[in-house]
């Protein structure tokens, strides 16, 4: 008979066990960070490039896997996102050095980069792999260790991807434990990670509940709020281009990105032309009956219908009994009001675009502000115009930190069709109850120790060229006398460290419930 390892006394759910689980993962990360901070720019970037390469190569595989596992989105679009968060992301920051000290002769200052240490990264179900790629790479660029807490609905593909990138990083010379993932995340366990003293900062992307929890943890956090982007098309816009870009944006990954356009606000004078152009680009403009069907289907008493997240337009139309041609990409729902009375003016993570006609620009601005009062403060907005004054007035009025001009908002606000920093964490700043208002990048994961000289001209600045901090690189391996092969790496495939005793993976149904709950929280107002 084979021996079995059984659990007689299960303590997996006790605070002591949860804290213990979190502590050991985080301490391993702290050790890794302590060694990683000794690496120079060249070695650091060689690790970053090795990881980016493998992330890029596997973009398609994980895109398919994520769609399969979560049921969200479009695999081809997810592949693009997974690729954008690999080589292009690294190339965007290629010329910036977050490792080598900077010498500023004019201010008589030397600035030494100090990595945060251990980053706790929450990743969402809607963009699981792109967010993992992005967070891992910005952590590596800044010599931080990272612990990923994946969304349970995308757990399997996330765990696999994180293990792969961890292996690649280590083979490229990164310290063991620089990339870890919580294999069986539960809310109480993740909360232990968030409140541990060993977490330097939580980088929270995902449901509002988790973001607020990160901010309540007593640790530093960079969290972002939900989106609900208004897009304005004014009478000076190139209507055909505007329509094309909006449809392209709204159908991208079936609106699973939080930067997607939620409410299209059009000036009366261009209403008909715009509708025509939208139709030509693959939109179906709903009639009043269709809109009522959509409203009832997408929003019920408990909030947004999460079944529709990342589903395509034809699927949604069928589900609520609207007959549309098979090539339709976006359902456009004209609405007469914006505000609490109209559920369709809330965030919709699916290719349903609310459409509201206004008489004047000032009315457009006040309606856009109203959209953002419902949700999405600090997030994104877009404008299609050729009038700079209109753009400035709009941007100065709406409470967001990025207004995309004449570009698809989904891609543009996330930095993929504009010069904004490419990101999967859109800082929603003070409007959106967050600490940072720009697209999150590596610069937010490193602080600088400043060696500041006496500004008096009597005190000369030192000569710091060629003087470096002690970047000793990896720790030498301690010898173990007399042990054959003791210097060989004993790395083993990492198995689960999370409590597995007596617990089984949550069923599909439980997952659905969990996501539903989270989304309700986001979409409720």
């Amino acid at each position: 008979m084979e021996p079995q390892v059984r659990t007689l006394v299960d303590i997996a759910d006790t605070p002591a066990a949860l804290a213990g689980q979190a502590d050991i993962v985080l301490e391993r990360a702290r050790w890794a960070a302590e060694v990683f901070r000794r690496f120079d720019q060249k070695l650091t970037m060689s690790i970053v490039d090795a990881v980016a390469k493998v992330a890029h190569e596997n973009a398609g595989r994980y895109a398919d896997w994520a769609v399969e596992e979560t049921g969200f989105g479009v695999a081809a679009h997810k592949k693009i996102k997974n690729e954008l968060t690999a080589h292009p992301l690294v190339d965007f920051y290629r010329d910036q050095d977050f490792v080598t000290p900077r010498i500023d002769e004019s201010r008589k200052m030397v600035e030494i980069p100090r990595p945060a240490g251990v980053i706790l990264a929450l990743t969402p179900s809607t963009n699981p792999i792109a967010t993992i790629n992005y967070k891992i790479l910005i952590a590596l660029m800044t010599r931080n260790a990272i612990v990923i807490s994946p969304h349970p609905a995308a757990r399997e593909c996330s765990v696999d991807a994180a293990h792969l990138l961890s292996k690649v990083a280590q083979e490229a010379g990164a310290p063991d434990g620089v990339i870890q993932i919580i294999e069986h995340p539960t809310i109480p366990l993740v909360e232990e990670f968030m409140r541990s003293k060993k977490t330097s900062v939580t980088l929270a992307t995902g449901g509002n509940a988790m973001v607020r929890s990160a901010y309540s943890s007593s640790n530093p956090a960079i969290g972002v709020g939900p989106g609900n982007a208004p897009v304005l098309v004014d009478d000076t816009a190139d209507i055909d281009k505007a329509a094309k870009r909006i449809i392209e944006s709204k159908s991208f990954d079936n609106s699973a990105l939080c930067t997607n356009e939620s409410v299209l606000i059009a000036l009366e004078s261009i209403d008909k032309r715009l509708c025509q152009a939208l139709r030509q680009n693959g939109a179906y403009i709903c009639d009043a009956d269709d809109v009522e069907r959509l409203r009832r289907y997408l929003f019920h008493d408990r909030g947004f219908n999460v079944e529709t997240v990342g589903r395509d337009a034809v699927w949604i139309a069928k589900e609520c009994g609207i007959r549309v041609p098979e090539n339709i990409k976006v359902l456009v729902a004209p609405i007469g009001q914006i505000g609490v009375e109209e559920p369709l003016s809330r965030e919709k993570l699916c290719p349903v675009l609310a459409y509201h006609v206004v008489r004047t620009r000032s009315q457009a601005i006040s309606q856009a502000r109203a959209v953002l009062r419902i949700a999405g403060a600090g997030h994104s907005a877009a404008i299609h115009t050729s009038d700079e004054t209109a753009a400035m007035e709009f941007a100065g009025a709406v409470e967001v930190y990025r207004v995309v001009v004449n570009a698809p908002c989904t891609q543009g606000a996330a930095g993929f069709a504009t010069a904004l920093a490419p990101t999967f964490t859109v800082g929603t700043g003070y409007f959106g109850r967050s600490s940072i208002g720009e697209n999150i990048g590596p610069q937010h994961l490193v602080h600088w120790t400043r060696l500041a000289y006496n500004s008096s001209p009597d005190e000369p600045f030192g000569s710091y060229h060629g003087v470096s901090v002690n970047l000793a690189g990896p720790l030498p391996t301690a010898p173990a006398d007399g042990v054959p092969g003791s210097s060989r790496s004993t790395l083993r495939p990492s198995s689960s460290s999370a409590p597995t005793e007596g617990s089984t993976d949550p069923s599909r149904e439980e997952l659905r419930k969990l996501i539903a709950e989270e989304l309700r929280f986001i979409l409720r107002h």
């Binding site: 021996p3 079995q4 390892v5 059984r6 659990t7 007689l8 006394v9 299960d10 303590i11 006790t14 002591a16 066990a17 804290a19 213990g20 050991i24 993962v25 301490e27 391993r28 702290r30 050790w31 890794a32 302590e34 060694v35 063991d176 434990g177 720790l475 030498p476 391996t477 301690a478 010898p479 173990a480 006398d481 007399g482 042990v483 054959p484 003791s486 004993t490 083993r492 990492s494 198995s495 460290s497």
Partner: protein
């Protein structure tokens, strides 16, 4: 020292152990451990010490590790020590968990003691039964415990005092790292077993030479003796694998684990026995009886210990801790080359060697004054036992290195004279 401590020490002399109490005072170590948490000990006067003694790995996972305390608490809602005569849920569950991670696939049974000495006695009795021979070979300066048979395998310092040394010629001791001497001892084919600590702890962790332990195992096979691995101090991940003997390619016939297996929370020790050595368990399963051995609450704690030490994070941590400590100690050694002359190391099992026959004692004393508790090797006081825990934090390791550098400098001046007061480059 506080009045309260002075008073307490008087009581300790009066009611507990006058000799031991006084010896520590004579060595300048006035430690009375009160509160304890993680790798910290707090003296009853509030003095904090980072514990690098850990009682031979008993506190591998730290003092009062919260998960182990929880396991004990939750376990006590259902179990107590249990009835050692009957098949028992927890004893069998732990035996299965041990079999699943045993150093040899043949190892099947576990017999239980309440402590390491009793477990060693069980191992020796098992070997004698299996081979129907009496002689036991051990290493000079070996240490396997203080019970009836175990004490005879060790230094006679501990047996003669009680008139308990071997008088029948049944316990043979040979020098460590000497295969010829080992062969001479085994050649007569009258030896039941060789008992071997994978790295002799109390002797200051001399490292086995390349090929020595596998050579001993081969000799055992050639001369029909059993190989008993004493993994009490070296097991449970301290050397980077769950059992250190496996790193030397040894598949022992019998293995003993103790100390750390009880997590410092509930004493228990285990003897893993291969199928071919377990005959007495079938012939007369009541042959060894122990009311406290394998107490079921201890089994619950031990199962948690086994689960914890096998987490992948622990493997990484042990490597970081041993590499980091070694790098720091190498620098200190370079700063005091005439005094600090060697480091013996396998994972987080370390011995620091000093150039004086009692050199580890002043280092221990100055470490104590500087907030670190590490003990000299009683059978080789040139060597300081230096045993960081498996879960030690980077911050605490840095603290230890900082304090060791100061203490070694002070001890060196004390032993060798404060000859060079020049500024030494900091380690």
């Amino acid at each position: 020292m506080s009045e309260a401590k002075l008073d307490f020490l008087d009581r300790s002399r009066a009611f507990w152990n006058p000799g031991k109490t006084q010896d520590w005072q004579d060595m300048g170590i006035d430690l009375v451990i009160d509160r304890r948490e993680g790798y910290y000990l707090y003296d009853m006067d509030g003095h904090r010490l980072i514990d690098l003694h850990l009682n031979g790995g008993t506190y591998n996972l730290g003092h009062r590790n919260p998960e182990l305390v929880q396991a004990l608490k939750t376990g006590s809602e259902r179990f107590d020590m249990g009835n050692h005569h009957f098949p028992a849920l927890a004893r069998t569950a732990l035996a299965e968990a041990l079999a699943a991670c045993a150093p040899s696939p043949d190892m099947r049974y576990t017999a239980y003691g309440s402590g390491g000495g009793e477990a060693i006695d069980i191992a020796l009795k098992t070997a004698r039964h299996a081979t129907q021979k009496r002689k036991i070979v051990s290493i000079i300066k070996a240490y396997h415990g203080h019970t009836g048979l175990a004490v005879k395998t060790g230094d006679d310092r501990f047996s003669k005092l009680f008139l308990s040394e071997d008088t029948e010629g049944e316990f043979i001791q040979v020098p460590f790292n000497d295969l010829n001497a080992m062969e001479d001892a085994l050649r007569g084919r009258d030896v039941a077993a060789v008992i071997m600590e994978t790295i002799p702890a109390t002797y200051g962790f001399p490292m086995p030479h390349e090929g020595y332990l596998p050579g001993v195992k081969q000799l055992c096979e050639r001369y029909d003796a059993l190989y008993i691995a004493d993994e009490v101090q070296t097991g449970l991940m301290r050397c980077g694998e769950i059992w250190a003997c496996t790193k030397y390619g040894i598949e022992p016939d019998i293995m003993v684990t103790g100390k750390g297996i009880g997590g410092g929370i509930y004493p228990i020790a285990c003897v893993l026995i291969s199928e071919r050595c377990g005959g007495w368990l079938k012939e007369d399963g009541f042959g060894h009886i122990s009311t406290g051995g394998g107490a079921e609450l201890g089994c619950i704690v031990a199962m948690k210990v086994l689960e914890m030490v096998q987490r992948p994070e622990v493997r990484t941590m042990v490597r970081y801790i041993s590499d980091y400590m070694r790098a720091g100690l190498d620098q200190i050694m370079a700063a005091y080359p005439d005094f600090f002359i060697g480091i013996r190391q396998h994972g987080v099992v370390m011995g620091l060697e000093f150039n004086h026959e009692q050199g580890a004692k002043p280092v221990m004393k100055h470490l104590y004054d500087n907030g670190v508790w590490a003990i000299f090797s009683s059978l080789d006081p040139r060597v300081l036992q230096f045993k960081p825990g498996l879960l030690m934090t980077q911050a605490d390791c840095e603290e230890v290195i900082r304090r060791v550098e100061i203490a070694v400098g002070l001890a060196r001046d004390e032993v060798m004279g404060a000859s060079h007061h020049t500024y030494r480059k900091s380690a």
